[in-house]
Subunit: 170 residues, 2 copies
Amino acid sequence: MQKLEEHISEVSFPKGHILLRANKVESSIYFIKKGIARLYTQTPDNEITFLFCKEGDTLMSLKSYVTGQKGYEDVELLEDCELYQLKAEVLENLYQSDIHIANWGRKLAELELVKTEERFIARQFRTASERYHELLQLHPDLIQRVQLGHIASYLGISQVSLSRIRAEIR
Amino acid sequence: MQKLEEHISEVSFPKGHILLRANKVESSIYFIKKGIARLYTQTPDNEITFLFCKEGDTLMSLKSYVTGQKGYEDVELLEDCELYQLKAEVLENLYQSDIHIANWGRKLAELELVKTEERFIARQFRTASERYHELLQLHPDLIQRVQLGHIASYLGISQVSLSRIRAEIR
DNA sequence: AAATAAATTTTACAAATGTTAAAAAATACT
DNA sequence: AGTATTTTTTAACATTTGTAAAATTTATTT
């Protein structure tokens, strides 16, 4: 960890800033100290928000980081953000020279993988309503901090559907 | 690779064999030499197939492998299978002692992660029909080798819906 | 080959979700 | 405070997908 910290710098960006761009090879990964961001892909007729990252999360263009190819997502900061920045190139060198860091990076990827697979499965056998209520349980702050259009996209439903779901209870 | 091979053994199981069990800590990971398997989770009213693994793929209970906790999936072999087996415990030791293997394991997880995320996003902005035709393009053999009930589950739709989609073209 | 079982398709209807447009509410700006 | 802008909700209708049951096809067994 100490060895990693030597190569990490701290950066800040205002709300609305586009941190990462689709179709670009991104050269850094970030750890969020403060703030929240959304990752989304552009499609012909709209945009799909597929992930939110907040305090404690790792933020990167996954495909870019893993394959060195162009990523498919834009990243927009939804609040003023304070981030820890680590250059991908530096990290790659550390992986090759330090076995502890290599295993840290492995664990990082593995844990993300479990999270993503679990979310994928949940999508397959929960109704939209169940997914909304689960999100409400696990990340109640998200619904406060992020506008509902993005939440709806994240849940894979239209904003109208989300409104209906929210109206059910009251 | 050579160092890995020393610890790998070859095993065979017949069609229908349940290779991995949900709610069990699984002690091995497998690489498929020949055959095909489906990973699925049991739910109160049915089962959800969320992944197929075939020749060249890595097969494991992901959560078990990563966290050492109970997994959530059963794995059924859909054909007679020949597998390479590697004990998780042995692998873990190799990770700690050999930086090349640690980075190989990291790459393994990272590439799976990109695949899973891309599939997750595709699920979010493609219609069921598009997903079926994409599967047909990318893995035409799957539709031949796996019964359609499982394919439907994998695509996240009912078997009736899948039948409708297949009927459209003809 | 006939009988049985399993898998797939079809049908009819119900429920969920999407689309478009408008209204209402909340937020930001001057 | 008042106006403009953005976000959220509501309404009406169209489309998609699901469920259950029957019909058909395919595979398996005797």
